[in-house]
Amino acid sequence: MVHGPARLTVETIDDILERVLVQQEASVDLRDVRSIDPCALLLLNLLVLEARERRIAVRFDWPQRADVRAWMRGMGFFEQVGSSIASPTNAAGGTLQPIAEIDDEAGIGRVVDGFHRRLAERYPLTESSRRTLIAILIELFQNIPHHSNATGAVDDPHGLAAMQDDDGAITVAIADKGIGLCGSLGLRPGYEGISDAGALDAILRDGISRFADAGRGGELQRIVGVVRSWDGEFVLRSGSARLYFDERGGDIVDVPAFPGVQLAIRIPLRHFDVGPVDP
């Protein structure tokens, strides 16, 4: 049995990913989990789907804390993973934007509008912040249909996105379990067989894309620049590599392999003018 940590984050979830997918543990005990970050929630969602697709029989005991369960329910997590778990409350647990599915490029405008509406309801965005954030959402969301199944190797990359605020920041998380950055970039001549860490570096540092067209690529590189200029946090996990940075610095580290790309940006609330709008 795997015991979940008190704080389930994009970092602390690694042990669970490895023990379910590699060691095929039969049970994951998350009952003592007291908080979950949005990216970890999407990873957990994809882990349940991945285990199911690989026919790994694993039982999940969900968090017992009422507020955590209510938040997961409000985020649509239990619906996503097909669990009919009862929640002790009907409250949405302070959710900002529940998990949305990103299936194809044609539906992205609708998803972006939904995120924008939710954000505007709670925060008085400045014109500049709104423009920048929406442009970022468009670029991040369309990466899923553009890249997650570029080889046609997966049945369904399960593109997901969610957004959550807390006392200090707004976090946007995007995740899929497609072919990953190296699978996509590896399609470009000269980049065949590139490693996960190598692909992360080429895409984020050099702005390389799988497309040879001069106008393609560079979007993630620019988003990294915006997040840095906002003193925000950025995490991108793909395959067996994870990049993290905040205002103090960052690095690429090796992590247990998991399919696809999972990304989160955390933007300090001061960039959205002030605190939440009074109801």
Binding site: G109, R131, Q142
Partner: protein
């Protein structure tokens, strides 16, 4: 002096928050039809008014790719310029043009400026051509204090980028003599 045929193309007709590459590709089909319908030396003025967001992907798919075709001669002598009420809205276009090593004239606050990939020297030369409307490489060399070869090189680059019109009007020794016209009309 000729009157140039200018048509406006309002990008906000496709929505106020744009968008994905797919949306840009659809819009491009309409823009290209408009350019093709223009007479030779006609011009499309892309209007950014009414837009809230213009993503870099949409900008590249609509403006970057179309402008690449303009510069490559795919639309004959027709040209394209941008009209941006807020420079922030033109950022995506600026970024993608720079990535494609292209430059475009953009009207903001009543003033024309270059966006995309360019150098101060190129911008200086273009500004003088726009001011004079009609000139020659020799005249530019004199006014900018340049060697003739430097002036000719700058003019050639501006002509390649479809930022000026260049007509050969004769030869002096081994060197072609060109008349230069602003693309902003007479």
């Amino acid at each position: 002096m000729t009157t140039m045929h200018v048509e406006e193309f309002r990008i906000a007709q496709f929505g106020t928050r744009l968008g994905t590459r797919l949306e840009g590709e659809r819009a491009r089909a309409e823009l290209e039809s408009l350019i093709e319908s223009l007479p030779e030396e006609g011009q499309v003025r892309l209007l950014l008014d009414g837009l809230e967001v213009l993503s870099t992907s949409f900008a590249d798919e609509l403006v970057g790719k179309t402008y690449q075709r303009v510069v490559d001669g795919g639309f004959g002598d027709r040209t394209m310029v941008l009209d941006a009420p807020a420079l922030e809205l033109a950022e995506g276009v600026d970024v993608k043009l720079a990535q494609r090593k292209l430059a475009m004239l953009c009207l903001h606050d009543g003033r024309w400026r270059l966006i995309g990939f360019h150098t101060p020297a190129l911008a200086e030369t273009l500004a003088l051509i726009l001011e004079k409307r009609h000139t020659t490489a020799r005249e530019l060399a004199d006014e900018l204090g340049l060697q003739m070869s430097a002036s000719v090189n700058r003019v050639a680059r501006l002509a390649d980028l479809r930022l000026v019109r260049r007509r050969k009007i004769g030869m002096k020794g081994p060197q072609d003599i060109y008349a230069l016209d602003s693309i902003l009309g007479g």
